[in-house]
Symmetry: D2
Subunit: 361 residues, 4 copies
Amino acid sequence: MSGNTFGKLFTVTTFGESHGPALGAIVDGCPPGLPLCEEDLQHDLDRRRPGSSRHTTQRQEADRVRILSGVFEGVTTGTAIGLVIENTDQRSKDYSKIKDRFRPAHADYTYHHKYGIRDYRGGGRSSARETAMRVAAGAIAKRYLATCGIRVRGYMSQLGPIAIEFRDWDAVEANPFFCPDPDRVPELEAYMDQLRRDQDSVGARISVVAEGVPPGLGEPVFDRLDAELAHGLMSINAVKGVEIGDGFASVAQRGSEHRDEMTPEGFLSNHAGGVLGGISSGQAIIAHLALKPTSSITTPGRSIDVEGQPVEVVTKGRHDPCVGIRATPIAEAMMALTLMDHLLRHRGQNQDVSVTTPRLP
Amino acid sequence: MSGNTFGKLFTVTTFGESHGPALGAIVDGCPPGLPLCEEDLQHDLDRRRPGSSRHTTQRQEADRVRILSGVFEGVTTGTAIGLVIENTDQRSKDYSKIKDRFRPAHADYTYHHKYGIRDYRGGGRSSARETAMRVAAGAIAKRYLATCGIRVRGYMSQLGPIAIEFRDWDAVEANPFFCPDPDRVPELEAYMDQLRRDQDSVGARISVVAEGVPPGLGEPVFDRLDAELAHGLMSINAVKGVEIGDGFASVAQRGSEHRDEMTPEGFLSNHAGGVLGGISSGQAIIAHLALKPTSSITTPGRSIDVEGQPVEVVTKGRHDPCVGIRATPIAEAMMALTLMDHLLRHRGQNQDVSVTTPRLP
Amino acid sequence: MSGNTFGKLFTVTTFGESHGPALGAIVDGCPPGLPLCEEDLQHDLDRRRPGSSRHTTQRQEADRVRILSGVFEGVTTGTAIGLVIENTDQRSKDYSKIKDRFRPAHADYTYHHKYGIRDYRGGGRSSARETAMRVAAGAIAKRYLATCGIRVRGYMSQLGPIAIEFRDWDAVEANPFFCPDPDRVPELEAYMDQLRRDQDSVGARISVVAEGVPPGLGEPVFDRLDAELAHGLMSINAVKGVEIGDGFASVAQRGSEHRDEMTPEGFLSNHAGGVLGGISSGQAIIAHLALKPTSSITTPGRSIDVEGQPVEVVTKGRHDPCVGIRATPIAEAMMALTLMDHLLRHRGQNQDVSVTTPRLP
Amino acid sequence: MSGNTFGKLFTVTTFGESHGPALGAIVDGCPPGLPLCEEDLQHDLDRRRPGSSRHTTQRQEADRVRILSGVFEGVTTGTAIGLVIENTDQRSKDYSKIKDRFRPAHADYTYHHKYGIRDYRGGGRSSARETAMRVAAGAIAKRYLATCGIRVRGYMSQLGPIAIEFRDWDAVEANPFFCPDPDRVPELEAYMDQLRRDQDSVGARISVVAEGVPPGLGEPVFDRLDAELAHGLMSINAVKGVEIGDGFASVAQRGSEHRDEMTPEGFLSNHAGGVLGGISSGQAIIAHLALKPTSSITTPGRSIDVEGQPVEVVTKGRHDPCVGIRATPIAEAMMALTLMDHLLRHRGQNQDVSVTTPRLP
């Protein structure tokens, strides 16, 4: 299929430009009988929503999602679920300036050469606004996974140079950074305020964890759970790196250190991040992603226009000085969508399998 | 599709277990008219082949590939290309010991719980032996890409704690480590010899570069070029992390530093690794992957058996103390397969596009 | 993928229930640069629209389609095209009666057993109303194909017992039956009027023709052009049979009669219907489909309720006494979508092919 | 995906040319734990095998299939199953004559224009020899379906002008025509002998029936069970038409006649052929297919060569005067593969569904 669909048995197909009339998605393959209403999707949409703190873009979008099909009398019917969000706060004039020039490190140049034409308003399809539909679709997956005892949560593990140790989940929802350590929040706010004064942007590292995942999810050899997870996470705007478990730290580790030993009481460690041979082990699935600093900054930059002439670009508009701040719900969504698809695929092929071997706690 | 197929328009489907009679693949969607013979695939197969130095497994496999279809009178016909490699050196007795026990950090435990049954000989389908077919299929993609001026090459950028700076491509092929700096080879050999004495294993970092890629490859939004590349690279055995361009270093970078500025003479840097908005920019595509240390070591480890009872596992057999050493050709193959698929997909949708805008050198 | 997507490179994914808030579709893979506006889709939607004559359901639907993405300044951008049609005339009360009973020969029984739940209002997802989005998507394909000199048209070749010879294309658009022979229209009207008095329904045979298709479209071996065409046409509600070219008449033919001989001036006949070995020959692609009589009739029928108890079912509501009458634009759409997908797929794999052999006129 | 794969969760990908070294297939997604050996596949292969009677091609092929992976200790492991059949009786010289000319009604002309190159030996990929792998893969599906109480069988329902009523299944296996009425066999033999004397060929009609299929298989809206069945059956060489249930006879039927009424004792008829709304109803799935007469006859025919010059073609070689005679096992295979894929897909999405409503016997 073309590029706007994710998943194979539980699929999500999205459409929508930053400044078009609306964003939308079709969620196909959702099991029947799941209680679902628009409010269920709104919670995560609000967590991702712009303008919720002074540290994110000031674009005001209500991001109210409508369910257009697939739900009857409050329950999913098993048929395709249509979702739509109308765009309300589009200031296209903001973008007229960059109509004929390529913003450095943006998709302007590549879309232009791929399609020979581009919707320059706010980046059109390449805008992070597209991720709103991922979050809406991911919320459906999350709800279903919850009925199977699977919980997907994420947090910010690094903001620019500031690394953050995980402390507790409650803290994550109590601040606009999804920071798991309440004591570090003031430091993050001070850093962001200075960054704004510097008219610059910065990157971030997000961590996502899925608990309660049964062993067995993931398909050898190309559709490994970690491979599809990497696919989903890397497809998020601005993501430049993905790690499973120890990730790049594994390079300098020795086998005797990295291997997660097992005892009847369970695994003694989780360097693998819950995936062995591309299949879930029953441990927590742990992934980390790196987001680059947004390129939409007001510090002038060198570029060219569509004629190939040199120009200086200053991105005014309304932008996130750190796209990573709003990325946590998006990363959760992609992990939830990946697990959902693999849960259904595993069931389809292996329904009869009943492994009597004791499973590790 | 199920899990053994990679790609959408140029697809590769593989089969084969470590100790089964043979490995095979079907390469579908290869354009007609490409000169191709078995020798063309053999070069990369030999680069990946075990037993080629004392630093890799001593299993002896000729890895002679046969082309069974899709090639007529020395040229591809456009129909499915069938490939097969017979397994010759299978010492199944080596593995009888671990028939009923799960080797730590191996896929034994997860395959057992997914399927309720597993081919325990050498890990069966989860063995890195499977990657031989990726390399064979990748060689076909490489040859076609070469006719389009695209070249894919890789090298080892870190062995355990030893980081290696790139020096030149010729050096890469002149040593068993794919080390790009001839002066560092003795150091690597000494490290590996000590590692063997320690009866341990270690991880590695591989870098892959594609040059000559035109701008425009990659499909928004889920099938971004970097997302599919991450999928392909993460699907390689033992890979725990993937980076595009600066990867995780982007986290601490500022936008003014990370953004690759453009002038009529070209890009001034390549922090992005040749991908913007998920689409190739015309710069070199750069990816890095982290491979974990193999878990097959002779140092005893704690585990359980299929009854859930505690056991001690010592992996004898013949194994790579560093699976990363042979991973370079595999990583090249996955990048070539990804680029090939996207080249055909881009053409299909955008054949009429002729962008007159000057493209950056 | 799940079941609501058609095509591989040019894909259409639809959603929507007969009495839900709206119908929608995402058309992915449309080449950039195609002039497109909502009016372009409306023409075919109006041809399919209910209530346009006394011989079809009296349900009144404006079927106004909105384009929500993928088109910028009147031209397609190459990104996903979102389409939506709001439902306006829903009289759900009509259906309350059959909430707990299965209408004979309807999908009520099968949806109930597949999903354990169903939207009983007008058949929900199983309603022919779903085909409106196929027609809208098909209109996009038709427009693109037209730029390649390909034209897709259909007509009614049989209504119940009345077989109709093709006479001319202009006649087809001049009557509500898509009848190609103006002299037969009064006969069809008289038949339909009597049918209504009999409170019964009847089947129909539709023929679809694509002219200007270049040789080479279709992928061996499973994705043959005729196989995918059969897939698309058989997926239309009420279709029970598909023929390519002579179809079932081929059974009694001899090879000397059926084979289409070739001369430098062209083919001497077209028994094959424009497809040889699953690949287009350059001749007109000809397909025929059989539509069963709708089961929604006011003549009482025996059935059971959800408790398995016997009931008598009389379908009131507003229904088409012959669903075939409105099927012509739908059949055209499915052929256009199939050709569009294969045109892009063929290009992707065979762009470089330039066959110098003279092609038959 | 490219064109050589069938199915989505249970997939079959094939390769191989008529006169290449071998044919092969990869069956992916087969559930683990199914007892399977090569003999299990051989039975159907022998039913399809050429040279088994004087009424089929005299090419001698043992068609011995080897299982190269996915089966361990006599049981499927859930991993990809690799299959291969070596070609043994290839008389390529037979074909040198038609190297530069297009046989009428063959794929020669279309392959030439699609790929610009073709393997002319026996039609290469377009040869019906390719169907051997469908039969081998179908046999795996049949075995699994049997464990679910599903049985797929076919028979010849018409040979040229001779229509055959079904009488009993035992008769089908007792003659080379798969004729269900033993009393008609002499008539068929006489007809075929005369046909050979006439140096001509003829078409046939095959019927396939699946019994024991539970209600619920099939995915709305494009992946309807009947639509995918039509896809699979139409993809068989020489097939020009597909019917489900009453098929084209439905055109002249009235709703009061066609609709299959239900009582607590079951359905009162099966005009629908076991599919309602694209989903299985629990009744027998019934499909019919029309095969055209083979074009490989020794009666001279007009054609052109690759230069576009007029030529006379006489197909010597060894051919089936009626390809329909060997088509029954192939049609069974395609129905089995379609049902298998939909069984797994249905399970994946609907595992939790437990419909308490009494299901019709």
